[in-house]
């Protein structure tokens, strides 16, 4: 028995190490699962809003997830990381504490830290010295262009995204 358990545990460790990014997620909108991170690839399944998934990998605008029995690529914006449910803060966010993206370089000790609060901001007094420091750091458009060019960044034409339709259609124009 003992002899059997050790290789089994080792195997499990290997499996979890292979899927390094594995983390729980929640589906935000009904969407398809694809065989590749591309909407032109084969559809392998679907995920419904509110369903729990396991996030296995990320590539560009896509996440590889397991949802029930199917595994496939789903649009990044159709899933939220964390098990908090589809609608904002939920009970599951307590669970989220343990599932924060597990890159040790990003982990910052929470204990003893105090965030900015409203009182700090209300009491704040104008600080001309810091403002001068900020001004002194500003750069020109020409410097920014040259900086962009150094890494091969070039301006791309991308059309604006449409504003969403209002949920309740009280307008007479929306009935057609």
């Amino acid at each position: 028995m003992k002899n059997f358990l050790i290789p089994a545990t080792a195997l499990m460790l290997c499996v979890s190490a292979a899927s390094a990014w594995a983390a729980p997620g929640t589906v935000l909108r009904n969407d398809k699962l694809y065989s590749q991170p591309s909407a032109t690839s084969k559809v392998t399944g679907s995920a419904v809003k509110g369903a729990s998934v396991n996030i296995l990998a990320k590539q560009g605008g896509w996440l590889r997830v397991t949802s029930g029995k199917s595994t496939g690529w789903i649009r990044l914006l159709s899933v939220r990381a964390g098990a908090g449910g589809a609608g904002g803060v939920g009970v599951g966010d307590v669970v989220g504490a343990a599932t924060t993206r597990s890159d040790p370089s990003r982990v910052v000790a929470v204990a003893g830290l105090r965030g900015l609060n409203e009182e700090d901001l209300k009491k704040a007094k104008f600080n001309p010295d810091e403002l001068a420091r900020l001004d002194a750091m500003s750069v020109s458009p020409a410097q920014a262009r040259s900086f962009a060019g150094q890494s091969g960044l070039a301006a791309v034409k991308v059309p604006a995204l449409p504003a969403p339709q209002p949920a309740q259609s009280s307008s007479p124009w929306e009935n057609n």
Partner: protein
């Protein structure tokens, strides 16, 4: 968000048409008081919640003591836009106040890097009339701020969580969108109309720094009040497009939102962020509706190697 003020503006317009030759100021006063009192009574069910700032301000106004209303001031608040000079003065005051609460990180390389990335993204916004300034604030709080006139701040706490330049570009793109869409100026206009009625009315802005401070409230509290959630959703939509136009991978901002969505809700470093922004899960969902497959053909750089890592 804009429905209520628009209704107000429209009804005022209607009144002004009918009121030629009548006591214009008195009519306005009655109409405004009516509008303010309506707030306190019942909200018609389908109406969207009024902007929090407006509500707070209305509540903070001393209980309707026979306030004299200057029709000219109201006219400015309703129909005028802040001039570029006024915008710059308002932004400078807010930025200086915010820096009074939290100083800049003492790391010139970091500040220079963020200014270079930020200016490059801001070049895609089409707003060329402001001087863009970017700063990293020395706090572990996870947040970012924008003020009129092109002042953009990101906290060290948020910066630490970023993994590449595209994520930084996405965060800055969101804040740049607040400036290009003049979200805070619209909020100020709204609150100076509904709230202060005279005290902080727009026409006093030109007088002195104190008048600008009166307009924005105590210190940098405007940064703690936040914007309407639709302004945040809009800034997300516009911000990722700015980043994509700058040649970055458009999934930077969504990646940061994913990271924040997985943070525990009770983390004190995000309490101000969540007080002033919709939850990241709601922002991801709203972005998902707007983006769908529209960015499928866009591929950009994430520039992980060049990303400046904070010490």
């Amino acid at each position: 968000m804009n429905i209520k003020p628009m209704v107000l503006a429209l009804s005022l317009l209607a009144f002004s048409g009918a009121a030629a030759g009548v006591d214009f100021g008195k009519l306005l006063e009655e109409r405004i008081n009516q509008e303010l009192n309506k707030d306190k009574k019942t909200q018609p069910a389908p109406a969207p919640a009024p902007a929090p700032a407006a509500t707070q301000n209305a509540a903070a106004t001393p209980p309707q003591e026979k306030q004299k209303i200057d029709a000219r001031q109201l006219g400015f608040a309703l129909f005028g836009d802040y001039s570029l000079e006024e915008e710059n003065r308002i932004g400078k005051q807010i930025a200086g106040d915010l820096l009074g609460a939290v100083p800049l990180v003492r790391d010139d390389k970091l500040q220079n890097y963020v200014n270079l990335v930020g200016n490059w993204v801001a070049l895609q916004s089409g707003r060329k009339d402001v001087t863009w300034r970017f700063g990293v604030l020395d706090t572990e709080d996870i947040n970012a701020f924008a003020a009129p006139g092109g002042y953009i701040f990101v906290t060290k706490g948020l910066y630490r969580r970023l993994g590449n330049e595209a994520e930084l570009a996405g965060v800055l793109g969101h804040e740049i969108a607040h400036v290009s869409q003049k979200h805070h100026l619209k909020l100020l206009k709204q609150s100076s109309l509904i709230g202060a009625l005279g005290q902080a009315a727009g026409s006093k802005v030109k007088d002195s720094d104190q008048a600008v401070q009166n307009l924005i409230g105590n210190g940098a509290e405007i940064m703690a009040r936040g914007l309407d959630k639709n302004a945040e959703f809009e800034a997300d939509r516009i911000g990722i497009v700015y980043a994509a136009r700058a040649g970055y991978d458009p999934w930077g901002l969504p990646g940061v939102l994913q990271d924040m969505a997985a943070l525990p809700a009770k983390d004190s470093r995000t309490s101000l962020l969540y007080k002033t922004h919709p939850h990241p899960a709601d922002r991801l969902a709203a972005l998902g509706e707007a983006v769908d497959g529209r960015l499928d053909a866009v591929s950009g750089k994430d520039l992980t190697k060049r990303f400046y890592r904070i010490r």
